[in-house]
């Protein structure tokens, strides 16, 4: 018979406001086997944990039930506390009376009654709990970083710095990501390339870092410490190890009319290309959608001019399988498509651009060599209107409900730089709110207004109408309470940002969770911000939520430190809640083996001593506890009930069912 202690948490008023915690503790004290029952404001606090420890010693408890928040929150806390007090951590059960009771019910009588039932179910389960000991599994000491933007680069450098191997998988031909397209960074206005490209070179030169560029993750198997990842290396039709990056092919290629994605289609590149001068790896790539040779078999100019003999038109996609102990997601963001916002005439006029396009226009390596010129006629614009929140904070269904966070600052940067370089240009910024929390951010924005004379107008643009070579901007000025009509030369739209489209299929492969906007969710929004709830999967950069560069870099380093903390371990403690076969009852029928996703079940010939002293050799199932992940598929496939799951046994679950239904 267990001696059970029950501890009911108030969680301040989170639970106590809707659940009569005293009543719950009192009611549960009458349950069979309960020798101690109490309530306390914060069971998870040190004082609360000490109460549990003291009670274990005072009352000789063998089992503990904590009625508190979700076990996903504090199960481990309470298990550790019990372990310190000398009872097996798996003798603890949590009744979730916060997320699944006090927070969703309003009526105190109902909520209290439900809390008591949930407590009873936990008590019924604890009666059948058995001490469990965790096994261990080895850790593969290599990390995978998915995405080679600034987030992925920083994470990879930090992990490699600690002495571990890192692979970066980048779907584009070069690493660098969005930051490589940016001209200057706020609020310091240092040149993005000047701080990014040295890091890219560091990555290329680091012996522990291996870049799979122009590659994608195709499949993920395994679990924390032991992931097996299939990487699809797309055919670039250029031998990566042979190409010297001289660039002759990219000058000679006769196919000149390929929209250059690096400049967002504002100029053209060739069918064989190197995205930009500082690309890493600096290797040419053939675009199969445009290459005449690949499409018709006639051309071959690049092959002829290549002195290194690097061109290979027969190259095929390649699948590479690699093992990793940890995976970091750094898939980044993209501006949204503006097709649903044509009141701003984005599709009607080339002089209506997105902020990222504006960034390329002002970049020395961009389509206008850094001169501020209108895409339509190459003339210098004298009036520029910036529109904030295009698609952000939009609940109408066209855009994104969240704040994209970076737009206020980069718009201030664009406005300021425009006024600095071209004082003859009038700059208007239409804003809903200017959001500048961050070190030196508000000062930066105020400088744009006070020193550079940018016109910040509280209001929104309602219509942009191209007329001749002007863009007629109709907008509201809410503070003046008037409607403005500005004849502008250029309009810059601060398009909302969204997670990269590759993120959702990747999340499925990783079994990592995502929110409704396709941002990866954290294991805990405050306390575990760089970990995914799926063990061994970490988050870096804008894949988790909109972020600027400094924030991205800090998160990237944080993710790296979490990965290092994992990889320094030789072994990981396994989940002890694994399947176990009762050999006496096992028929050896192989049903369980067929449904096991991990191949954890094998069969052995076991010798049984019979009552009449003879022996019988029978085939029975045997579970490898280091491989078993504890899903329980085998337990239901087993017709004899020989296979059971520790921690979630048939009897335990049925005891819970009974307690709930009684």
């Amino acid at each position: 018979m267990q001696k059970i202690g029950v501890f009911v948490c108030w969680c301040g008023s989170n639970i106590a406001a809707t659940v009569d915690v005293k009543r719950v503790a009192e009611a549960l004290s009458h349950e069979n086997g309960v020798v101690y029952s109490t309530d306390y404001q914060y069971m998870c606090s040190e004082a609360g944990q000490n109460m549990i420890k003291d009670a274990i010693k005072t009352y000789g408890l063998t089992g503990v039930v904590v009625c508190s928040c979700s076990p996903r929150m504090h199960e481990n806390t309470f298990r550790k506390a019990c372990s310190l007090a000398g009872i097996n951590p798996y003798m603890v059960e949590i009744a979730n009376i916060r997320e699944q009771c006090s927070w969703i019910h309003k009526d105190m009588v109902q909520a209290t009654a439900k809390a008591i039932i949930l407590g009873k179910a936990a008590i019924a389960k604890v009666h059948l709990n058995a001490p469990l000991t965790a096994g261990t599994s080895p850790v593969k000491k290599r990390a995978l970083v998915i995405g080679g933007g600034i987030a992925g680069i920083q994470t990879a450098l930090d992990i490699a710095d600690a002495g571990f191997e890192v692979d970066i998988v980048e779907k584009k031909p070069t690493i660098g990501g969005k930051m490589s397209q940016i001209d200057k960074t706020f609020p310091t206005l240092d040149c993005a390339a000047c701080i990014l490209t040295p890091k890219m070179v560091d990555v290329a030169q680091n012996e522990l870092i291996n870049i799979y560029s122009y590659s994608e993750v195709a499949a993920v198997k395994g679990f924390v410490g032991n992931f097996t990842v299939t990487i699809k290396k797309k055919a670039r039709y250029v031998k990566e190890d042979v190409c010297t990056g001289c660039g002759v092919c990219t000058e000679k290629c006769p196919q000149k009319k390929v929209p250059n994605e690096f400049n967002l289609g504002m100029d053209n590149r060739r069918a064989i290309y190197i995205p930009f001068a500082q690309a890493v790896p600096k290797v040419a790539t053939i675009d199969p959608d445009y290459c005449t040779m690949l499409k018709t078999g006639k051309c071959g100019v690049c092959s002829k001019v290549c002195t290194a003999k690097a061109i290979d038109y027969t190259q095929q996609d390649e699948l590479i399988e690699r093992e990793y102990g940890a995976i970091v997601v750094a898939t980044g963001f993209n501006p949204i498509d503006l097709k649903d916002y044509d009141e701003y005439a984005y599709s009607q006029s080339p002089d209506v651009v997105t902020s990222l396009e504006f960034e390329r226009i002002t970049n020395a390596a961009g389509p206008t060599a850094g001169k501020l010129l209108r895409p339509s006629d190459g003339k210098h614009p004298h009036t520029i209107v910036f529109v904030q929140c295009v698609g952000s904070r939009d609940t109408s269904g066209c855009g994104k409900p969240y704040c994209s966070k970076i737009c206020c600052m980069y718009t201030a940067k664009h406005a300021m730089l425009t006024r600095e370089k071209y004082p003859d240009t009038e700059v208007y910024v239409f804003y809903i709110d200017v959001r500048t929390p961050g070190k030196s951010f508000d000062e930066f924005y105020r400088r744009a207004v006070e020193e550079y004379g940018v016109h910040y107008i509280k209001g929104m643009v309602g219509k942009v109408a191209p007329e001749g070579d002007k863009l007629m901007v109709q907008a509201s000025d809410l503070i003046a309470n008037e409607q403005l009509n500005i004849a502008a030369d250029m309009v810059v739209l601060a398009a909302a940002i969204e997670p990269d489209k590759s993120a959702r299929p990747l999340a499925t492969m990783l079994t990592a969770s995502m929110d409704t906007n396709d941002f990866f969710t954290e294991a805990h929004p405050k306390l575990r911000p760089v970990e995914s709830p799926t063990a061994g999967v970490f988050l870096s950069g804008a894949c988790q939520g909109p972020k600027d560069i400094p924030e991205t870099v800090s998160q990237a380093s944080a993710a790296a430190s979490k990965v290092i903390g994992l990889l320094v371990k030789d072994h990981l403690t396994c989940n002890p809640c694994v399947a176990e076969s009762n050999e006496l009852m096992c028929n050896g029928c192989s049903s369980c083996e067929k449904v096991c996703p991990y191949g954890a079940i094998t069969y052995i010939d076991k010798e049984f001593r019979m009552p009449d002293r003879t022996t019988l050799v029978r085939r029975v199932a045997s579970v490898n506890p280091a491989v078993c992940q504890g899903c329980g598929a085998c337990t239901v496939a087993c017709p004899s009930g020989a296979m059971d799951l520790k921690g979630f046994s048939n009897k335990q679950i049925m005891a819970e069912v009974d307690a709930i239904c009684k």
């Binding site: 009852m585 028929n587 049903s591 019988l616 004899s640 009897k651």
Partner: protein, 325 residues
């Protein structure tokens, strides 16, 4: 037929090729023959029987016999060979110890149907073309086979042996149009209330004698969950009325994908509950939802419940498809 089988059994035993033969012998009445293990030629000569009443499926008895070691011969009708394969697939029998003698079967008589015609004092049975000739102490009675044949034989799915080492008589063909799911379809077409009334009428007669479980070739567990105090659903004796429903549902579920539809459960039920209609429902569902599958057809394929397709139907199909609301 009986003599051919008997002689072959004696021959195998005498030659030492096997040390026992699994067959049938007469019970108290002519029509209730029982499975028997023969180790002696004289015993065989005196007691071995095979006629139109020898219905029991002998496959299951091989599970216990295999544990004893030694070679054995067994007589298997076509439907019994499915059970044999299924047991082999589940590693319950040792193929190398067993000499399978496939025997021809043209359907067995259902003694209840014969008795229902007022025939009594039965002493034997023979076949004459399309008729059975039932011998009684009052003389012979001739009756058409289709009127008194067991239901499972009238809807026989296959006269083909799935496995044998030697054959006595002929092996036949699989019959895909046997109509064995007709009754299930009829039930499915009823309203839930009608189905409920039907099953209530049937299942309420159950006396939990366990005959169905004991005879079932798929029920060969070392220990049945209903006998296991750790399974959480142990119920040696049904305490509440609910438990018997649960027993039949769980039993049908446990043999789903493994049941070969041999029909032994319904044959032995003393209360004449059509238990095979539960098993056939699962078989029909699995065929329709996951593709045709016949348990015992081979010894390697994956059963529907230990397999899946990514685009399987959702459980809500039960709500969506046929059957009246």
């Amino acid at each position: 037929m009986q003599e051919l089988m008997k002689n072959r059994a004696i021959e195998l035993l005498s030659a030492g090729e096997v040390d026992r033969v699994v067959g049938w012998k007469k019970g108290e009445f002519a029509y209730d023959c029982t499975p028997a293990i023969f180790t002696d030629a004289n015993d065989l000569r005196d007691n071995f029987v095979y006629d139109d009443f020898t219905a029991p499926n002998l496959s299951k008895y091989l599970v216990a016999e295999c544990k004893k070691g030694g070679k054995m011969a067994v007589f298997l009708k076509p439907c019994d060979t499915y059970s044999f394969n299924q047991l082999q697939k589940e590693h319950r029998i040792k193929r190398e110890l067993i000499h399978v003698i496939g025997i021809e079967c043209n359907g067995k008589a259902d003694v209840d149907k014969i008795k229902a015609r007022g025939v009594d004092g039965i002493t034997g049975i023979t076949s004459e073309g399309a008729n059975f000739v039932v011998e009684t102490i009052y003389g012979n009675e001739t009756m058409p086979k289709y009127e008194v044949m067991a239901e499972r034989c009238l809807t026989c799915k296959s006269k083909k042996h799935m496995v044998y080492d030697e054959l006595i008589g002929e092996t036949g063909d699989v019959n895909p149009d046997c109509g064995r799911f007709d009754m299930v379809a009829k039930l499915e077409a009823m309203t839930p209330d009608e189905r409920f009334a039907f099953w209530r009428g049937e299942l309420s007669r159950c006396i939990r004698c366990n005959a169905c479980r004991n005879v079932c070739p798929a029920c060969t567990c070392e220990q049945c969950v209903f006998d296991n105090p750790n399974s959480g659903i142990q119920q040696k004796v049904a305490v509440t009325s609910f438990e018997e429903n649960m027993f039949h549902i769980i039993r049908a579920y446990h043999v789903a994908g493994r049941c070969t539809d041999c029909g032994e459960c319904s044959r032995v039920c003393p209360q004449s509950i059509p238990l095979h209609l539960l098993n056939r429902k699962f078989i029909k569902d699995m065929n329709e939802l996951y593709g045709e599958y016949q348990a015992g057809e081979d010894t390697t394929s994956r059963a529907p419940l230990t397999n899946y397709n990514m685009d399987d139907c959702e459980p809500s199909i039960v709500h969506e498809r046929g059957g009246k609301a």
